[in-house]
C-alpha cells in the first residue's frame, strides 16, 4: 500500500502553521487588532469622561466667569463641601425614599403581581395587559412625562376629572408621591417581563407536588415559586435599584420642585452643575454617586455569590 508512505511525506512538504492555542486560534496580536476599534471607542466615550470627571471634581471649574477660563486645582475641597452641605444629604435621603418606594417596592412587587396574575390567562386578555404595560416602558421618557403632566394637571387634569378632586395640585401637594407613581408606571414592565419568564421556568410538577400535599397559594409561593426564582429576584432588584437611583426623568415632571422636595441626586447634580454653574462641585457629587452605585453592585455580587456557594 502506498498510503503509509504518502501521509508523512505530505505533512513534510506542507508543515502546518502552528495554531495559537486560544479558542479562536487568532493569537494575541491579531485578536488585539479585532478588539481595538471597540476599545478605542470605549476609551473616548466612557473612560475619558470618567477620568475627566475625576479631574473636574478636584478643580473649582465653573460654567462661567474666571474659573471657566482657568480652573484651579482645589484637592478634595469639593468633596468636603458636598458632604457637609445639608442639601446634599437631603437629596440623598429623597433618593433613598424614591428608590425604595418606586423601585424596590413598587416596580418589583407590582411587576411580580402582574406577572403572577396574567400567568394563567390566555389569549387576547394577556396580550392586552402585557401590551399596555410594555407601552408605558417603550414610550420615550419625555413623552411619558408630558403625559403625566397632563394627567395630573390642576385645572383640566384627567386624574382630577376621574376622582372628582377638581383643583388639586398633585405636583405641588404630593410631589414625591407623584414622581414615585410616575416612575412605577414607567418602569414596571421590565420587572413584569422578567418575572413572567422566571415563572415560566418554574417546573409545573413542583407546584403540583405542593398542591398535592394541600399547600395553599401562599405556601406554594413561599416554598416553591420564590426559592426557584431567587436569582431572578436578585438580578431584578439590582437593576431596578441602579436604574431608579440614576434616573433623571422625574426632573421632566417636577423639575426637582416644589422647593427641592423632589430633588433626587441626579437632579441635584444637574441643578448644581448646570443652572448653578458649579461644574467642579457637580463632578465631585457625580463621583460620590458612582461610588454608591459601586457599593450597591458589590453588595449584589456578594449576595449572589454566597447563594451559589450554598
Amino acid at each position: 500500500m502506498t498510503t503509509s508512505t504518502t501521509t508523512p511525506a505530505g505533512s513534510a512538504i506542507a508543515p502546518r502553521r502552528r495554531r495559537a492555542d486560544d479558542v479562536a486560534g487568532l493569537g494575541t496580536v491579531r485578536a488585539g487588532i479585532f478588539v481595538a476599534p471597540a476599545l478605542i471607542l470605549i476609551g473616548i466615550f466612557l473612560l475619558f469622561p470618567a477620568v475627566w470627571t475625576i479631574w473636574l471634581g478636584m478643580t473649582d471649574y465653573r460654567l462661567t466667569g474666571l474659573q471657566a477660563a482657568s480652573p484651579e486645582f482645589v484637592g478634595l475641597d469639593n468633596y468636603v463641601e458636598a458632604l457637609t452641605d445639608p442639601s446634599f444629604w437631603n437629596s440623598l435621603w429623597l433618593t433613598l425614599i424614591f428608590v425604595l418606594f418606586s423601585g424596590i417596592i413598587g416596580q418589583t412587587l407590582i411587576g411580580f403581581g402582574l406577572a403572577w396574575s396574567v400567568r394563567n390567562i390566555d389569549g387576547w386578555t394577556k396580550g392586552l395587559i402585557e401590551g399596555l404595560v410594555l407601552a408605558a416602558w417603550v414610550i420615550p421618557a419625555s413623552v411619558a412625562s408630558f403625559l403625566w403632566l397632563v394627567l395630573l394637571d390642576r385645572r383640566s387634569g384627567t386624574i382630577n376629572g376621574l376622582l372628582g378632586t377638581e383643583g388639586t395640585a398633585w405636583l405641588i401637594d404630593h410631589p414625591m408621591q407623584s414622581i414615585i407613581i410616575f416612575n412605577i408606571w414607567v418602569g414596571t414592565a421590565f420587572s413584569m417581563q422578567l418575572f413572567s419568564s422566571a415563572l415560566n421556568a418554574v417546573p409545573p410538577s413542583q407546584i403540583e407536588s405542593a398542591k398535592m400535599v394541600g399547600a395553599t397559594g401562599w405556601q406554594q409561593l413561599r416554598d416553591v415559586i420564590v426559592p426557584n426564582i431567587k436569582g431572578h429576584i436578585l438580578t431584578n432588584t439590582l437593576l431596578i435599584t441602579l436604574w431608579t437611583f440614576n434616573t433623571f426623568t422625574p426632573y421632566l415632571v417636577t423639575a426637582g420642585g416644589p422647593n427641592g422636595k423632589t430633588e433626587i441626586l441626579s437632579v441635584y447634580i444637574y441643578e448644581t452643575a448646570i443652572p448653578g454653574g458649579q461644574l467642579g462641585l457637580g463632578a465631585a457629587i457625580s463621583l460620590i454617586m458612582l461610588l454608591i452605585n459601586l457599593v450597591i453592585a458589590l453588595a449584589y455580587v456578594r449576595v449572589s455569590k454566597g447563594r451559589k456557594k450554598r
Partner: protein, 357 residues
Amino acid sequence: MAGINATQLVKEYPGGVRGVDEVDVQIHDGEFFALLGPSGCGKTTLLRSIAGLEAITAGSLVIGDRDVTNAEPGARGVAMVFQDYALFPHMDVGDNIAYPLRIKHVGRDERRATAEKVADGLSLQGLIERRPGQLSGGQQQRVALARAVATRPDVLLLDEPLSNLDARLRLEARTFLKELQRDLGVTTVFVTHDQAEALALADRIAVMKAGKLQQIGTPREVFQRPNNTFVAGFIGSNPMNLVETTVTGGGISIGETSVPVPAGTEGLVRDGQTVIWGIRPEYLRWVSSEEPGAIPAEVSVVENLGASVLIAVNASGHKFQVVVPEDHEPAPGDRGWLVPQAAKTLLFDAESTQRIG
C-alpha cells in the same frame, strides 16, 4: 387504605377534545393498578384527574367511601410521584420528604424523625442532608417516593415511574417498586406506555386508546385474551400477528392452507365471513419439513434477539413474525412451514375489531 371508583369519567379540554372519554374503572383496595397505552391515549390525564390536578368535566370519582369529584388535590388522601420526581432543589432530602408534614403543621423535630424513618425504609440512609442535585436518578426517585408515602396516603399515584431511569436501573427499580407496594399495601395506580412494565408490575391493567378504555384485566388476561386487535397488538414484546382473511369450510384460510378456528369460536362465525386471525410470534413454530396443517412460507428478514431470533416471513401474501430458538436460525430466502399452536390462536371481527368468542 381505599379503593377508587370512577364512573363515566370525562375530561374535556376547551375546544371539545376529550382527554378521558366516559371511563368506568374500579380499582380495588391495595391493588397495584396500571394505566397503559400509547402516548396521547389519556392515561396521564386520567391519573391527574384522580389526583385532582385536572378538573373533571363529567362523571364521578369516589375514593374510599368519599365522593372526591370536586375535592381539592390536597383533600383526597392521594399522594403522587411525578415523572421528573419534582423534588425541591433548595431543600435537603429530609426537608423534601417531610414537606407534606410541614404543610400539616407538624413540629420540626417530629418532621425530621419521620423523614429519617421513611428514608431508612427506602434505603436512603445517610443521604438525609444531601440536596436532590447531589443524588443519582434512582436515589431521587426513592426520595420522591418517600415524600409521597411519608403521610401514609390512601392512594399512591405514579406517573411513568421508571421512564427517567436508565435501562439497567429500571429493572432494579421495578423490583423495588413492587416490593414497596406490597409492604405498604397502599392502593397504587401507575401510568406507563411500556407494556412490559405493566405486565411485570401490575395486579391489573387498564389499556387505553384515544381517551377510551379498551380492556381491564390481569396481565395474563390482557395478554392471553385481548378484547380487540388494538390490545392484541399493543401487549406483548413482539406484537401479535394479525391477518385479515375469510372463514372457509369451517376453517381459516391462509393461502391454500386451512387452519382450524380457535376453540370456542365454532358456530360464532359463518362461511365467507371476513375475520382477523391472531397469533403471537412466540406461538408459531418454524419447521423445514411439511407437517399437516402447516403454512408454507419464505423468510424475508432475520432479527437477533439474543436467546431467540425474530424472523419475518411471507406466507401466501400474508406477513408473519415468528420467534425461533437461537439454534435454529434460518437465513433470508429460506423456505419452510409455519405450525400454529391451535390453542393459542384468536379470532377478531374484521369490522368491529372485537374478539370473537
